[in-house]
Each structure stands twice: as structure tokens, then as C-alpha cells.
């Protein structure tokens, strides 16, 4: 056995705290190590070449690389030694950066630890055998979950490449939150004008199948072959028959909240959310429908000229295979009411959220673009914007920034002035965060051209007085309290993940943070991947984002999906479990514990039943390895022998 050890200095990242030459020197005295050297940047081209050289010149059969985290560069170095002609798995990385040089300041402590870790790596690699990955064919069909601008963009990009896409949206229409916006910063182009054509395109695309009123029920399988159950919820309207004439909505006597308009205005029990909805199909909400509440109505069924209403409709579950999934479930506005009693906790009608205001400004909104305050319908002259409600506020447990609030406030202040020329806007802000292209200029315009008065400070209290609202805050620049009598107060409420995002993530087996925003695999280098292969993220479901960023991420996710599926088949990890069938006693404890049903029974010629691992299903968790009473299931790459050797080595 001929082992080579390479100790990375990582510039001074490692060498600053770890005496790398001492580590290399110590390595030379370890069993079977016949080559050790330090390298300045092992991952760089010269670094990798040095490894290949050493392998070839000295005939190394195993390699230990002491450098950064294997989560960072394991794949890189596997490729390197593969290029050197070795089996890619005959390499072991030990982490002397994240787990050593970066967390210690004492050189002796860090160096000792690094030597221990190398020793552990050598012990482990000595027990490593070559592993070979296999390939499985992939399903060349893609699932996109969430039909906001991000989901639409991803679906279109993927569909354009020729792959069939199923776009699953749980609401009655695609478009997401962008469909609710009036104009968009920083160019002030009309949101519907740019979004609706894309919605229609998605509907008409030959490779896209739209499923609205649908949600993910269950997900099985793994990268390349996910088996997904989709629940199509009963809407009491037969989608193919409905022509979108809206007669049912007109005649329906059942009042219902208007979700599309963020609660501004009223809707009906059977309705189409807005005139540009895609698909243009009505949906009935049973909780508001008289037919379902007291069995007396049936108006919509009677008036529908297309005979599309069917009260007996039930949920339908369909199952389909997909090679990859893009999650684009977006965001919802944070419900501020409980946390901000000082702003009235939702009791003052003239304190509205930014999205409600967006609907009040919109020409297609319930007031047809005439800004009217909710309490009495009067046109507000003094409008106060309060930023960071439920954002950047530790006291309510929401330290995160919503990333678009500063921008849309500036936009809404501008639009306010355009709608009501004799109005005055005030903006309470903490900092103005305007980092995008043209953004800073935009917020300046709001102040200079449209006269919005910006006050740097938080609002402490809002209370009603003489038919107006008094907004009490501080202006930290002039250093004193300020009070403004407002006709309308707009709260820039923060972003929350879409309701149920965590639950969906658990079904997909991807991670999410404490706010249920879905986690990317690496914040810098793998921003659209998740930790589960084949599942990608796009848009505000990952973190608060504006439209340009959502669209960019969607296209990036699409590129990843296309890349993945263009290969037709994918390599599976060879680090799977294997059963020593000679010694298997056929108890099937392994099969009972396997989370992936990757173990089946096999009958040997002598009639004995033994366990067999299905390589393509095994994900390599190792649960079976521990469960096996005679210890004959073994996880390749993490065998008992390897783990014991590592442990023993550290305790010598």
C-alpha cells in the first residue's frame, strides 16, 4: 500500500495557525505513507497537478488531502485523482481549515489536532476499496411547483428546451404576487403588461401542462426519478367546459373575501380572481357557498351557459414521474397584527399593508385605481409609509430584511403623487436599501422629484384622532420625536415564506430555515440547488427577493435542470449498502428500518431467504448497517472497519 499525504496551506488560511510542514513531516512516519508534501493552494491548478505528479511518479495507491471541508472540495479532488489514473474513491479529505485552523488561535493546539486528523484519514483510507458508480436512466419530465413569476419563468425556459413541464399552482390562477402589483420599480412599467403575456405563453406552450388548484400530496424516489402524487382540488367547475364568461360570479349571491385583492373589496363564492387570470376558469369556494352551507341556491349551475358547474366534483390524485423538480412557492406578507399592537393590531381600517395599497393603486383593482381610504372612501392627502414592519425587528423575532420594502415604498410614494398630485407622502425608514441597478437613483427620485419626505426612525405608535391617524415616530437625524397626522398609513410588512412551505419541504426532503424559507445547498456556490439532488429553488421561496432576482434564479434553476436531464442518465453514488449474503441470517431487520425501501428479499439456490440492497434506491444513510444483528450489512465508504479504525486512531 502506498499512501501520499498532501497538506494544504490555503495561503495563510491554514498555514497561519497550523504548522503545515510539521504535519507533513509527522505524516511521513505514519504507516504506509511514503510521500508527504505541503501545497500552497491544493485546489488550484498547480496544486492538483502536484498531486497527479506525485501519484504517477511514486505509484501512490491512496491519497489523503488535509485541506478545507470535504463538503467544499471532495468532488474536486476525486476528479483529480481520477485524472491521475486512480479510482476516485481512494482519496480521503481531512478538514484542517473549518474544523481546525479557523477555530483555534494556538499554533500548537491546531497543529496537534491537524496531525491527529491526518492520522485518522490515513487509517481510514487504508481500509478503503475502489468503488464504482452505476447509472440509471432519468425521466425527462420536470415538475415546477408554484406559478408565480419565478415558476413561470423556469417552466418556460425548461419547456423551450424541449422538455415537458408540469406547472402545479395551488391557487386558481398563475401569476403569483406579481400579478397583484400595479407598476414595478425601478422602471415603473406596468406589472400586468409584462407578466400577463408570459402567463398566456405558459398556458399555450405545447410542452407545459398547467395544473391550478393543485398541490403536492406525496413525493417518492430520488434524483432523476421522482414519483409525485398531485392533488387536484375540487372546485365544482369543470375546467374544460368553463369559458370564463363570469356570469356565475355576477349572479352568485354568496359574498366571499377577495383574496386576490388582499382583502380590499369583496368577491363571490364562485369567482375568477381577476380578468386576466390564467387559466380563465371559475372556482367555487365551498365555505362561502350557499349551496354547500344550507343546500339552497344552485344559481351558478342554473346560469352557467356552458354547463360547467358540478357540485359533486371531488378531489383527484394523479401520479406522475419527474426527473427534476423546481420549487417556486414564493412568499406571503407577514401577518403583522399580533406583533404590532402599537400600530392598532389591525383595528384601524386606514392602516393597510403594502400589498393592499398596491391593489388600491392598481387600475385593475377594486377601486379602479382611485386611491380611496377604506374607512370613508375619501381620497387621502397625507400618506405615511412605515418601513420594516416585521422586518429587521429583533423585538418581534424577525431580524431579516425583506429586501424589497425600501424599493416598493419609493415606488408607492411616487405613484401616490401621480394619483393625487396635492398629496404628501412621508416615509419612516431605518436605512434605505437600494442596491440594484438603477435603484438608488429611483429612491432619490421619489424624494427629489416627487417630494416624498423621508424620516429616519421607527414609528412608535399609531392612534386615531379626529378622523385621522396620528403617527408618532422619531426622526433620528434631527434628533427628536415627530408626529404626523395621516389620512392613510401603509405598512411595509416583511416577507414570510408561503403558508405550508415547511410542510412541502418535508415532503420533498429539502431543508428550510426558521422562517420556512427553503435552503439552498451552498449560499455562494450552489444558490439554486438544494441539499437533495434533482430539486432546485427559484424566487422568493428561498429568501425575500425582487422580480429581477427571482427571474434570474428561475432561469438558473432551469439551466441546472436542463443540464441534469440532457444526459439521459445519471450516475448514482457508489456509497451504498451491501449485504454479505453468505452470512445473512434472513431476519430482515435491515429491510424494516430502511427509509427508502431499498432492501428486498432474495431467495438463494439453496432456498435460503437473504437480504439484497437495490443499489439504485439506496441513498446510503447506513441505518441498516447498524440494525443488522450479525453485522453483515455494510455501508461502502463508511464500513464498520473504517469507523472503528478512525476512532481507535484518535484515541491512541
Amino acid at each position: 500500500m502506498r499512501i501520499g499525504v498532501f497538506v494544504c496551506q490555503c495561503g495563510t488560511n491554514i498555514a497561519g495557525t497550523v504548522a503545515t510542514d510539521k504535519v507533513a513531516e509527522a505524516a511521513l512516519s505514519m504507516r504506509d505513507v511514503l510521500h508527504a508534501e505541503t501545497l500552497q493552494y491544493t485546489c488550484s491548478d498547480p496544486g492538483q497537478r502536484a498531486i497527479i505528479d506525485a501519484v504517477q511518479k511514486k505509484g501512490l495507491t491512496r491519497v489523503v488531502i488535509a485541506a478545507c471541508s470535504p463538503r467544499m472540495h471532495e468532488t474536486t479532488f476525486r476528479r483529480t485523482i481520477g485524472q491521475a489514473g486512480m479510482n476516485a474513491y481512494m482519496m480521503e479529505m481531512v478538514n484542517i481549515r473549518e474544523h481546525c485552523s479557523w477555530i483555534h488561535s494556538d499554533i500548537d493546539i491546531a497543529t496537534d489536532k491537524a496531525i491527529d486528523l491526518v492520522q485518522k484519514g490515513v487509517a481510514r483510507v487504508r481500509r478503503q476499496v475502489p468503488l464504482y458508480s452505476t447509472t440509471v436512466p432519468v425521466t425527462r419530465r420536470v415538475l415546477v411547483i408554484g406559478g408565480g413569476v419565478a415558476g413561470i419563468q423556469a417552466a418556460l425556459d425548461i419547456a423551450d428546451s424541449g422538455l415537458p413541464v408540469t406547472l402545479v399552482e395551488r391557487g386558481p390562477t398563475i401569476g403569483g404576487n406579481m400579478a397583484r402589483l400595479d407598476k414595478t420599480f425601478p422602471t415603473l412599467d406596468c406589472s400586468s403588461c409584462i407578466l400577463t403575456p408570459r402567463m398566456v405563453e405558459a398556458k399555450q406552450h405545447e410542452n407545459i401542462r398547467l395544473m391550478v388548484n393543485a398541490e403536492i400530496e406525496q413525493v417518492r424516489g430520488y434524483i432523476g426519478n421522482f414519483e409525485v402524487d398531485v392533488r387536484k382540488k375540487a372546485t365544482c367547475v369543470i375546467e374544460d367546459k368553463c369559458t370564463g364568461c363570469m356570469i356565475c360570479q355576477e349572479k352568485c349571491p354568496g359574498k366571499a373575501p377577495d383574496e386576490f385583492n388582499a382583502g380590499v373589496g369583496q368577491s363571490k363564492a364562485i369567482s375568477i380572481p381577476f380578468p386576466q387570470a390564467v387559466p380563465m376558469v371559475a372556482a367555487l369556494r365551498k365555505e362561502y357557498c350557499r349551496q354547500f352551507i344550507n343546500g339552497k341556491c344552485g344559481v351558478c349551475k342554473k346560469v352557467c351557459p356552458a354547463d360547467a358547474v358540478d357540485y359533486e366534483q371531488v378531489d383527484e390524485i394523479t401520479t406522475e414521474m419527474f426527473g427534476a423538480v423546481v420549487v417556486a412557492t414564493g412568499y406571503e406578507l407577514y401577518d403583522w397584527r399580533e406583533a404590532y399592537p402599537d400600530y392598532g393590531g389591525g383595528q384601524y381600517p386606514d392602516v393597510v399593508t403594502s400589498l393592499q395599497y398596491e391593489r388600491m393603486l392598481s387600475a385593475s383593482g377594486p377601486t379602479a385605481g382611485h386611491v380611496q381610504r377604506p374607512s370613508d372612501g375619501a381620497e387621502p392627502k397625507q400618506v405615511v409609509f412605515v418601513s420594516c414592519v416585521g422586518s429587521r425587528d429583533e423585538s418581534v423575532g424577525r431580524p431579516l430584511c425583506c429586501s424589497v420594502g425600501c424599493m416598493y415604498i419609493a415606488k408607492q410614494a411616487i405613484l401616490t403623487k401621480e394619483h393625487i398630485p396635492d398629496s404628501q407622502s412621508y416615509v419612516f425608514y431605518i436605512d434605505i436599501r437600494a442596491t440594484g441597478k438603477g435603484y438608488e437613483e429611483f429612491t432619490r427620485r421619489a424624494q427629489k422629484e416627487f417630494g416624498a419626505i423621508y424620516l429616519r426612525g421607527r414609528v412608535g405608535k399609531i392612534y386615531p384622532s379626529n378622523g385621522q391617524l396620528v403617527v408618532m415616530g422619531t426622526d433620528t437625524l434631527s434628533g427628536g420625536p415627530v408626529e404626523i397626522e395621516a389620512d392613510l398609513v401603509v405598512l411595509a410588512t416583511g416577507f414570510s415564506a408561503a403558508r405550508g412551505a415547511g410542510e412541502l419541504a418535508r415532503k420533498l426532503n429539502i431543508s428550510y430555515d426558521q422562517y420556512e424559507f427553503l435552503s439552498e445547498s451552498h449560499p455562494k456556490l450552489r444558490p439554486v440547488e438544494t441539499t437533495t439532488g434533482g430539486i432546485f429553488l427559484a424566487g422568493a421561496c428561498q429568501a425575500p427577493k425582487d422580480i429581477p432576482d427571482s427571474v434570474a434564479q428561475a432561469s438558473a434553476a432551469a439551466a441546472k435542470v436542463i443540464g441534469l436531464l440532457s444526459r439521459g442518465e445519471i450516475e448514482t453514488s457508489p456509497m451504498v449498502a451491501a449485504v454479505d449474503q453468505l452470512r445473512c441470517i434472513g431476519c430482515f431487520k435491515c429491510r424494516d428500518v430502511c427509509p427508502y425501501n431499498a432492501i428486498e428479499a432474495l431467495e438463494l439456490r439453496d432456498g435460503r431467504q437473504v437480504a439484497k440492497v437495490i443499489d439504485t434506491l439506496c441513498q446510503g444513510c447506513g441505518v441498516c448497517n447498524v440494525a443488522c444483528p450479525p453485522s453483515v450489512v455494510s455501508l461502502k465508504g463508511y464500513t464498520d472497519n473504517q469507523l472503528i479504525a478512525e476512532t481507535m486512531e484518535l484515541l491512541r
Partner: protein, 342 residues
């Protein structure tokens, strides 16, 4: 909609202790209630009596330690003085009540500090000449009534006597802050008074200034601050159409009631907002007389408000426990005492 009611009912039902003798409380009046806030003491005693709550005044209680003076003499007097009160309050009682928000706040703080510091406990033991007992539960008056009186039973008994009034609840700062130590109600939106006030038949709309500063003890050092702060509280209450402000703190009461005339003089306003103690309002609802409750002693007359109170509604007040749960099933009576004073 504000979900005040949900939170409060949780608070009321929380420690519903059924054991007998639990509705006898050790009573710490403190200096305010024996002096300038005598009507707070009187109304608290009468109302408690009418509700079947026994108050056993701690004999030989001393200064609660809240007044700034002790702090100047010695850094630790602010803990050692209340420590002695806590020590002697425990005799035969599991809980004590301190109606003055300042006392309540100091006692709770001292308890917190004693819990966290062995050194302080040792100091206290040296002064007391025995190991200090400081674990007794400390209640404020709002908390006590919330625990002992169920809104349904009260409503049943007072038959909407205060219907027609809209009462602004004013908590000030001391009852709820610092939130982690006081551990009483939601410090940003306290709501504990509301259920019982509504049970009296009165209306009690959201008062946005319920925990705004009244100016506190700045009245001595910089009177303008108090006048400005209290003016706002009163003006907002008046603007929102409240008939009275209800408080549970003698200092708040002093600033809002006694200084209302000074405010009017200083700012040329003509505020005329009665400020009542919570115990007075409950007493009124129970049919006790306004003179016995000390309402007539206030600087701002409550005459208009009293005139509004529905005449004849509700029977005479009987000393009856209206405790949530515990007494609900049994006929709710712990003996009858003639309605005090009326």
C-alpha cells in the same frame, strides 16, 4: 379584531387553585396607599371584601424600597428592604398582593435579584438573622382580581350596572416592565383589566396609550415632562370618547388626576377626564358607594360619569366569592357581609 379576550381568559384560568384558604392573601399596602392614595386602599379593601377575598395586612411591613432615597444610602437597600417584606409576608400565605404598581415592581425585582444572587441572599440573612424566605408569589391588584373573579360570575351579579360607560384601561409602565421579570400580561399590549370591565356592562375599547409613559416621578424634578406626557394620555383618551381612565397605579393616578388642573393651566386646555382606580370601578359595579370608594376625593370630579351609571341595576353587593372554577359549582357564598357603606 383584536384577540384580547382570548389571551386574558387564558390568564384567568391558568393557575386556578382549588385549595381552600387560597383566596386569603397577604396584603402589602405600601406608603402610597396609607397616604396620598388612601382611596385606593379603601376601595381595594371594600371591593375585595365584597368579592369574598380575604386580605391579611402584613403586620410591621416596611418601605418597599422603590423610593429613590434608599438607593442613595446603600446600593443594596433597594433589595434588602423588600427582602424583609417578602420574608415576613409568607406567614400562612402562598401569595401576597401589592396594589401599588411601584411596590409590586420593586418587590418582583428584588425577588428576581435574590433568586439570582447567593451573595444577596446571604446579606439579607445577615440583616434578618435567619435565612431569607423570598419565594412567595407576588401579585398586583389586576392580577389578583383576574385570578379570583370570573367575568361570567361578575356579569351575573352586577347585571350590567356600568352599561353606557366606555372605560380606557391604562396600565402605565411599572406593572409589565421589564417584561421578563414582571412576567405579567403582554407588555406591549396589556389586556388583563378588560374582561372584568366588560363584565360590569361597560365598554372598554382599545386604548392605544394604555402603556404610554405618564411622566412618572419626574413630577418633582422636571414637572414639565409629566405635564406633557400626562396631557397626551388624557387628550387621546378624551379624543377617543372615553368616559374615564382606569388605572392601577397611585403614581399614574396622581399624574393624571391631581395634575390635570396643572396641565390645563400650563397648556390652556380644558381637560376634564375622571381617573379611577380599577378597584373603584369594580366597587361601583358591585353597588358600593362612590364616597366610600373614595371617588369623591379625586381632583377631577366623576359626577358626570356617576350620573350615567344605570340606576337600580343589580342587587346590593354581597360578599361573595366569584372565583373562576373553584367556587363555580357550589353556591358562591362565603358568608354575607352587609354591603359596606351603602
Amino acid at each position: 379584531m383584536n384577540d384580547d379576550s382570548r389571551k386574558v381568559s387564558a390568564a384567568i384560568n391558568a393557575p386556578a387553585a382549588a385549595e381552600p384558604g387560597r383566596n386569603a392573601y397577604s396584603y402589602f399596602p405600601g406608603c402610597s396607599l396609607t397616604g396620598s392614595a388612601g382611596e385606593y386602599d379603601a376601595s381595594f379593601r371594600l371591593t375585595s371584601e365584597a368579592l369574598g377575598i380575604r386580605l391579611d395586612e402584613i403586620s410591621d411591613w416596611n418601605c418597599c424600597g422603590a423610593s429613590p432615597a434608599p438607593h442613595h444610602w446603600s446600593g443594596n437597600l433597594g433589595v434588602l428592604l423588600p427582602a424583609r417584606n417578602l420574608h415576613i409576608a409568607g406567614d400562612g400565605h402562598e401569595a401576597m398582593v401589592a396594589p401599588c404598581a411601584g411596590c409590586y415592581n420593586r418587590l418582583k425585582n428584588a425577588q428576581h435579584e435574590l433568586t439570582g444572587s447567593e451573595e444577596l441572599r446571604e446579606q439579607a440573612a445577615r440583616v434578618l438573622e435567619e435565612p431569607v424566605r423570598y419565594e412567595i408569589e407576588i401579585l398586583n391588584l389586576v392580577e389578583l382580581f383576574a385570578r379570583e373573579v370570573s367575568p361570567e360570575a361578575l356579569a351575573e351579579r352586577v347585571q350590567g350596572r356600568l352599561a353606557g360607560l366606555n372605560l380606557a384601561t391604562y396600565y402605565g409602565c411599572l406593572l409589565t416592565r421589564p417584561a421578563k421579570i414582571m412576567n405579567f400580561d403582554n407588555h406591549r399590549n396589556p389586556v388583563s383589566m378588560k374582561p372584568l370591565l366588560r363584565a360590569t356592562g361597560a365598554q372598554s375599547d382599545h386604548f392605544p396609550f394604555k402603556s404610554e409613559c405618564c411622566g412618572s416621578y419626574m413630577g418633582l424634578a422636571k414637572k414639565e415632562i409629566v405635564l406633557r406626557a400626562s396631557r397626551r394620555v388624557i387628550e387621546v383618551a378624551a379624543g377617543l370618547g372615553f368616559d374615564a381612565i382606569v388605572t392601577a397605579c397611585p403614581l399614574c393616578h396622581q399624574n393624571l388626576d391631581l395634575r390635570q388642573g396643572q396641565i390645563n393651566k400650563a397648556f390652556g386646555t380644558s381637560l376634564d377626564m375622571p381617573v379611577l382606580y380599577y378597584s373603584q370601578v369594580l366597587g361601583l359595579a358591585l353597588g358600593l358607594g362612590s364616597d366610600d370608594l373614595g371617588i369623591d376625593a379625586h381632583a377631577i370630579s366623576a359626577r358626570k360619569l356617576l350620573a350615567k351609571i344605570g340606576k337600580g341595576a343589580g342587587g346590593p353587593a354581597a360578599a361573595t366569592s366569584l372565583k373562576p372554577e373553584a367556587n363555580q359549582s357550589t353556591p358562591a357564598s362565603i358568608g354575607t357581609i352587609p354591603a359596606a357603606g351603602s
